[in-house]
Amino acid sequence: MSRIFAIAWKDLRSTMRNVPALAMMLAAPLALSALLGFAFGGGGNFSISATKVAVADLDAPVFTSSSGVASSSAGQTVVGILKSPQLKDILQVSEKPIAAARRSVDGGKAAAAVIIPADFSSVIFSTSSTTPRTAIELYENPTQGIGGSITESIVDQALLELNGARAAAQAAAAVATANGRSHDQAVQKAIKTFVGQGGSSGVAVVQRPPQLGGKKSKDVGITGLVLAGMMVFFMFFGASNVARTILTEERNGTLPRLFTTPTPRRVILGGKFASTYLTVLAQAVIIVVAGRLFFAIDWGALDVVALLILAAAAVASSLGLLVISIVRTPAQAGAIGAGVYLVLGLLGGSFTGTAQSGTTYATVERLTPNGWLLVGWDRALRGGGAADIVWPVLIPLVFAVVFFALAVFRFRRRFA
């Protein structure tokens, strides 16, 4: 056992002296997470901050108070949706004249300007069978992160609701017409009713936190998820980097020399596995601690975090050994390993986060150890307990056992 630790300690010390390797293992995931956090519009703890939106509502009401319902316009309905209390954490809306709205975007004071045309209500309330067309203009600065996309998505949702209401009104009007009222009056009445109620209650984005083990889960900051993905991704690279010392030692003659000593080959390879495992374990611990200190990430319960790190280190180091057992040179290890880890990272959601269960992407994610680990980290970040991460820990461990067995088989043939 002491020989295993002697080999592991030698490799660990060698890795700690290798500045480029350390940069790749530790600095890269932290830096990428910070960059992605900023890209998503965050600062501080990198949660998504409210997007500033300037609204120029040029729309004029088409009904008067004498028509039986409160005077209103479809444009005000859209403005109401944008200003709804449910969206106050996402959008910070200010109404401005059209020129001022555009200047806000040009000057970087707003991520987007929503310009509602003057004929908006007349188109929405049109009773013509051939509906005239108009468009809400979304004036956005593409360099201002994803704020414009969020605004566009919400406006799209509002329009969808308005068009849906219009279709429903047409159907209701058909019934009313059959009861003796004119078609146009029936349509307008129905739409007026919707518009009169709309905005604050009819159309809204409601955020509901997901349930975890029957409990309400915590809100999850984006940086935690991003860093978890990056950590898992770069742990594979870290493991590969250490496992690659087998090839380097083979090339430099130290591995054959080790084989001439009384230390059994299984102990030598065990030492190599131990050094790989301990290195990625240390890598994960450092990243988790750094995430806590620098980004204030609440990773979740300590036992859950420990289990996830242990499982991730096991699967990363065993896959690193498997790749090394297949290739012949350090250069091959770099090229093939990078390809394997990149594909696993892409399929496993290291760059996109975990997919919603039941989707095709979620199924693909669950075919990779990365995907399961990220499901585990997602649950840990949302306050899940050990019972919530049984499968996200067990399945990567099964992957680890299979990878390790294959690597041992390959090494036994290679160094027999």
Binding site: S2, T254, P256, F259, T260, T261, P264
Partner: protein
């Protein structure tokens, strides 16, 4: 009494059609003896050492090292041997001491015994003052000394040295050769491979000459030299017409062998004093002029030439 007994050792890569690197080699080494395997590059010396180190599994035959079979009892063999590989096999980012401590652990040493042996070996390789320096800062000769020191940590009964003086300066070479002789004087058995004739002649109690994977002669230096009898080795250069001259010289009385080695002729002659004038006469008769003559008394180079028809360095 033999401490190493090699019996029909054979190694073929990718049988049945692969390269036959070692073809039924047999020899033995007595306790406390320096035995050299002498042969050109690619002769099978390193492959033989690899099999005796249990690094390669023999395709046939066996060898007993300290009474243990390299085929069936490799663990015991590894405990009895120390191996100095041809290339420096150490960790350059570790200090000399860190290297020795690590390798000592791999040889099963621990605690106070390990530290004591590391100190002794550092004294032996005269690197006590530089023990804390990383190997990457060492000269080639110093690295070679650490490379040898590693193999001495566990006091092996047999030391294998695979061309340990390749690519180093004359001073370091001298130091290493003196060190090897000192180890022999302390009773260590040494298997040494080289393609330098002078090293084999100086160091060895006995020499095995290897070529194309086969042992072509074994014996002491004197015994091997007797193979070529009293023949002297004559190197000749001419101003032109070398090919034709070699054919003519081969017919001269007293010349037993004549061949071309790159840009000069190599002749084995029975009595150089008698034969040389005839060689000059033959050259003059052919219209050539001899520009350089070198006469060498019988040695291992000539033995190799005699046995294989090729110079040792080829």
């Amino acid at each position: 009494m033999s401490i190493v007994e090699v019996q029909e050792l054979r190694k073929q890569y990718d049988p049945p059609k692969g390269v036959l690197a070692v073809d039924g080699v047999s020899f033995d080494i007595a306790q406390g003896e320096i035995f050299s395997l002498l042969g050109p590059n690619g002769a099978g010396k390193s492959t033989t050492i690899s099999m005796l180190s249990c690094l390669l599994h023999p395709s046939g035959g066996d060898a007993l090292v300290d009474g243990h079979s390299v085929v069936t009892d490799s663990q015991a063999v590894k405990e009895a041997i120390g191996v100095v590989p041809q290339d420096i096999a150490l960790y350059p980012d570790m200090s000399a001491r860190e290297n020795l401590v690590f390798w000592g652990k791999m040889y099963g040493l621990a605690g106070g015994e390990l530290q004591t042996r590391v100190d002794e070996v550092l004294e032996l390789i005269t690197l006590v003052d530089r023990q804390k320096d990383r190997l990457e800062k060492f000269s080639g000769g110093m690295k070679r000394r650490v490379n040898i020191g590693v193999a001495l940590l566990h006091k092996p009964r047999v030391l294998y040295l695979d061309e340990p003086t390749v690519g180093i300066d004359p001073q370091s070479r001298r130091s290493i050769l003196d060190g090897i002789l000192a180890l022999r004087d302390q009773g260590m058995t040494i298997l040494y491979t080289t393609h330098y004739m002078a090293e084999a002649q100086e160091l060895s109690d006995r020499i095995g000459i290897v070529d194309h994977g086969a042992m072509i002669a074994v014996g002491t230096n004197d015994e091997l030299v007797k193979i070529v009898g009293e023949e002297a080795h004559v190197d000749l250069r001419v101003d032109h017409y070398l090919d034709g001259m070699v054919e003519r010289w081969a017919q001269v009385l007293g010349v037993t062998k004549a061949m071309i080695d790159e840009d000069h002729a190599v002749l084995l002659v029975q009595d150089a004093n008698e034969v040389l004038p005839r060689l000059f006469e033959a050259a003059a008769a052919a219209g050539s002029r001899i520009t350089e003559v070198n006469v060498t008394e019988p040695n291992l180079e000539m033995v190799f030439l005699h046995l294989t028809g090729r110079a040792l360095r080829e």
